[in-house]
Structures are given as C-alpha cells and as structure tokens.
C-alpha cells in the first residue's frame, strides 16, 4: 500500500486541514453559549449556500436520513408521489416513498440519461401527484439534471418539489428560493468539504403546512421538533465536532464565493472529461458543461473496472469509485467535489493511464494530463 493517499471519490471527499483541526478541538457542551453561536452561524452560512430564506434544519445523520426526514414529514399512506429516477438515488427516493405507503409513480430513465422537463410536465398532467422527488446530481452516473426546469414544471402542476442535492450543493448552481424548491436535502461530506455525519433539509412554508397534515410516524426526524428547538439550537445532542468543522468549511466556501466555486467545479469536470477522452476512453457521464460533480468513465473492452479501482488503490494509494450493480466491471468514477484543484484531476488521469496500459488496454499515452490542463485553463478563462 502506498504511503501517500489520494481520496478522489464522489464522497466522502477530502477535508481541508483547517476543517479537520476544527473537528478536533476540545469538546464543548451543545447547550452552552459557544455552541449556540457556532450553530447559529453554521445555519446562517447554510442558508447562504442554499440561497434560501427558508428554515434550514440540521440532522446528525447520513444523507439518507435527511431523505427519510423529507418523506416521513411529507408523505402519508396513499399519497401520490412522483419520483424522477435516472440512477441509484432516484431509486432510493422511490424505495423510501414506498416504505411510507405512498402511491409511487416513477418517471424512469436509463441510467446516464438526463431527465426532461417536458416528460415531467406530461407525467404530471396524465397522473397528478402532490409531491415530486428529484435528484440534482445523480452521483451514480455523473448526470446533473436541470432542476430549475424540472421544478418550474412541477410548481406549475401544483406539486411540492423536493430535491436530493447531496452531491451538488456547493458544486453546481442551486437556487432554492428563486427556483421554487420546497425542500432541499444535502449532506456535509461532499462539496461542503466536512466529514460525513450531518444532513440538512431546507423547508418552505408550503412544506411546513403539508408536514403538519402528514400522519406518518416520526420522532427523531420530526421537522417540527427542530423548528421548535431553534432557540435551544437542536432538539437532540448534535454531532458537535462535525458542526464545528462544517462551520469552518462553509466559511471557506463563502470566502471563495459560490460563483467561483461553481466555475471551478465546471472546469474540473471539463478537464477530467477532456483528459479521459484524450487517452481514448469513453465517457458514461454526459460530455456536457453540467457534469461538474463526478465523471463516470467506461473502461475499454476487456479491462475490468474493478481491477482498475483495486490496482489504483494498491499501487498508488488512489481511491476512486467503481460503478453500481451491473456497471461494476465497466464503470469507474472520479469525483471532483469540494476541496479539489486541477492537479487532483491530473493525478487521477496519470494513474488511470498507467494502470490501464499495464492491464494491456489500448490507451493513448502521454496526452491526458496536458489536455486536462489545457481544458481547465480554457474553462476558467474562456476566450
């Protein structure tokens, strides 16, 4: 095992040293004035990152717990719920809604396809649903959907809109209020550059109203407890250290500026795609400006992606992600979410090139890194 490690997965993502240091400060009490101030600042920063004036609730939980909070607070048995599914996380929405007894309709695409607003409009016209569940960045495929257009169509049809923004928040534009999104769910461990362990949900007034009428049982994720506890900070003992880290990370993000961060992510995606293509690899992610979060790449015929992932780790200490399910032998994914610069991309590409060559795959040598650097430079400073 190599001594130096590179975490290049789409989450958990690398955590900046000043964030790690904040998580390792001596423990403080969650009801004391220091933590209350810290918590209030972190929530205020989250509102800025989400671009919302709605309530932002913070849960000590994985992202999936945040998803469940949305379903448990908005879905009563029998409710019509439309899930737009184009990968692993769209399927998770559908499974969750099913567990809570929803009448689940799927607008389903092949994995890797980009959902279309006109399909959603037609689906809602044919078969109305009061709640639409969307995935912004489908981490399993690299597809970033056009949530602005999808949300507009859902709003027009009178539905509440819930968005899984776990891997997109802070990486690609998301305008919670301007786009009329009722609920955004995200997590600490992706573009927010903090360790895993916190999930968040933004809640609009119409979502609060629906929450009050929902009959599904919930306690830990009962949004109303978090709203009532605003004065106290949190209703239950939060992950104090992770909140401290998240607060510092959010400060870094806002200092860089959200627009700059979005441009950087778009350029990183561009660099990664151009480099991969230059060495002759086929993209699974759309070769499109929108794919700024994670790049999904197919291995050449005969080159097993599982073997590639293993070899990258064992030879070079580089961790990238594999593909889900049937795609496990053909797909690998390079994350570029959060604390990344172009040299993380060139490191990934250089190592992939080396390992695939050694596996006997027909790879163009010596061009990927240069092409990635060029593409990055073009993207950050367009002509």
């Amino acid at each position: 095992m190599a001594a130096k490690r590179y975490l290049l997965t789409p989450g958990p993502t690398p955590v900046p040293p000043e964030v790690l240091a904040a998580t390792a400060a001596p423990m403080i009490h969650h009801r004391g004035p220091d933590f209350k101030a810290l918590y209030a600042r972190a929530v205020d920063r989250l509102k800025q990152v989400c671009r919302t004036d709605n309530d932002v609730l913070l849960f000590t939980s994985s992202g999936t717990g945040g998803f469940e909070s949305a379903v448990a607070n908005l879905v009563s048995p029998g409710d019509a719920v439309l899930c737009v599914s184009h990968g692993e996380f769209g399927e998770r929405w559908a499974a969750l809604a099913g567990v809570y007894g929803a009448d689940v309709r799927r607008l389903a695409y092949e994995w890797g396809e980009i959902p279309r607003a006109e399909d959603l409009a037609r689906a809602l016209a044919d078969d109305p649903a009061g709640l639409v569940l969307l995935v912004h960045s489908e981490t399993s495929t690299g597809v970033v959907s056009d949530v602005e257009a999808l949300a507009a169509v859902a709003c027009d049809a009178g539905a509440l809109v819930v968005v899984d923004a776990v891997s997109s928040l802070g990486a690609v534009p998301l305008e919670t209020d301007a786009w009329g999104i009722d609920v955004v769910v995200s997590g600490s461990q992706k573009a927010l550059m903090a360790p895993p362990g916190l999930a968040l949900a933004t809640v609009s007034e119409p979502a609060w109203e629906r929450c009050e009428r929902t009959t599904s049982p919930r306690f830990y994720y009962d949004w109303r407890r978090y709203r009532r506890a605003v004065e106290a900070g949190t209703p239950f003992t939060p992950a104090v250290a992770t909140v401290a880290g998240l607060d510092v990370a959010l400060g870094l993000i806002l200092e860089e500026g959200l627009e700059t961060a979005f441009a950087r992510h778009a350029a990183l995606g561009r660099a990664c795609r151009e480099g991969a293509k230059a060495m002759g690899l086929e993209l699974f992610s759309p070769d499109d400006e929108s794919a700024a979060v994670v790049t999904a790449i197919l291995t050449p015929d005969g080159a097993n992606a599982k073997e590639l992932v293993l070899s990258l780790r064992e030879r070079f200490g580089i961790t990238v992600a594999g593909g889900h399910g049937d795609m496990a032998t053909r797909l690998f994914r390079i994350g570029h979410i959060g604390w990344f610069d172009v040299f993380d991309i060139t490191t990934a590409l250089a190592a992939v090139e080396l390992v695939l060559s050694d596996m006997g795959a027909p790879i163009e040598r010596g061009v990927a890194v240069t092409r990635a650097l060029e593409a990055y430079a073009e993207a950050v400073a367009p002509a």
Copy 2:
C-alpha cells in the same frame, strides 16, 4: 469568560486527545479496506464493552435516533408496550412508543426514585406487554436502576427487554447477554469518550424475529439493512471520522479494563456525593453506590441553580448541567462519565463552593475537596 475550560456535564463528555487526533486524520472512503477493518474492529470492541455476542448495529445519529430505531423495528400499531419511567428519558421512551401507535403503559415513579423489580412484575402480571422499555442511567436525576433485576422480571413475563444505556455503557456494569437484555441502545458521547454522532443498538435473536414482523415504516433505521450490510460495513455513508475516534476510545477503555472503569466511576460518584454533603448540600441523586454516572445536587434555599450554572461558566469556564423542567432553579448536575479523574470532581466542588458562598448561601467552606479526596481513596482501596 475564563481561558481554560472544564466540561463536567453528563454528555457530551471530555474527549481524550488521542481520540480527538484520530477524528482529525485525513478522510478515507467508507467502502475502502482501511475503513472496513477499522469499522470491524470498532464493532468487535463494542461487543466486548456491551458484553454481548449479539449483533451490534452502529448508526450515524444522536442517541435518540438509536431509541427510535428500537421502537420503529419492534413496535407495530396497537402493540402493548410498558415503559418504566423515572425521569426525562423514561418519558422519551413513552413518547416514542406513542408516536408509533403503541398501546403505552407507564410504570411511573417520581423523578429521583429507583424503580423496583417487584412493581414491574406486578404491572406485567396485571396487564401483560410484549415489550418493556427501561432506562439504565436516568441522566436527568442521577438514578441508575437495577437493570439486572428489572430485566429478569420482564424475561420471566415473556417480554422483550430494551434498555437505554446511553449514559451508563462503560460507566456501570451492564451484562447484555448474561442479564437477558434483547436490545441495548447507547451513544458515542458519554462513557465511550468519543464525540457525539454515533448511536448503537445490540439486537438479540428474539428481537430480530420481532423486527421481521413489525409493520412500522422505517428505512434509515431499518435494522435489517444494517444486518445485510455487514460485509460492506454500513448501508449508508457513516460518520467516518467519529468511528475512527470511537475505535481509539474503545481501545483505551478495554486497555483500562471494564471492571477498573466501573470501580473508577463508582469512586468518582462517591467522591462527588461526599464532597457535596460535606459543604452542606442536599443530594437529589440517591446517596448510593449505584449513582456512579452523574450527581444531581440541590442548591440551598434561595440559591438559584440557574444562576450557579451561569456563574460557574462565566467566572471559571466550568460547564455543569442544570435541572430539567420544574427543577431548573433548584437542581444542578455534575457528570463524571468517561474521561474523568478525581481532580475533575475537586475542581467542580471547589468552584461550586466558591460561587454558592458568593451568592450568600450557607456553605461550609474548606472541607469539600478534602472530603472528596478521602472518599475517593477509600472507594478505590476499601479497607
């Protein structure tokens, strides 16, 4: 605000520096071999601390999420559930069971009372229930109940036994398997000496059988997902850094030895009670060897406990806990859970003595610290 801080609450508790350092290591991927090995070791150590061969499930969550996991997986609407309630957390069990539609019966005591096994036997004989929810250490009052005797009675009545051991696990004896406890719920942030953010549940075979029959909706806390995911580690992205810290903390606990840790906690409780009595204060916790987790103390008439707590913090950087609800003006609580030695107790007592004196309370000066040290020495080396 004083520069040096002392966290003397019953949770979150102070975290040893080697544990903090482990939480601040560079982030690793939760599906990689490093984390899988770390996770497996942490779970194995938890089994040793819980003294169980049952499955131990680890959730990224506050302790209350662990409680909800027990209720969501074991309670279907209409199920008869008996909650033994003698404080804040007994009431939380009852509220949770109620949310899931249980037919909730309470065996309720005054706060500060110790539940009696014979009462539980009678209650179950009069009105059988398939599930009994107990609190081991009632953090709101300092009472540690005799879970061995209570569980024996519940087992005899054919009920499954679930124990809230959030503030007791690692501080006072708990024999999950030997006492026939089906489910133990605990958290990372008390005697386990790690930051908050992880909850655990031990699950016996009869509890697994009941879980399979339970109809309540659950997804994130669905125990079956965690059992199926044993090979992968966790079904959802866990709080990687907190698991790393917990693993180190559990190593420290097992290195000290559980019996030594129990004796230390008993001696700390004894020292705290003797010191408080020596300065003329009245105990709210039972003056009993069992009260080893947190000491609840009444302020003298006319001395507002809220003012005491605030003054300790502002003048000396010392955080102790106040009382819940009606007790807020009369009660304060000194925690001695986890990474504590006798000088934490003498610090707390010395500062309480100083502040209460300055508040004009009739306090015996200059005896508490000496008496606490004597009591500690007697407790750790009985004649």
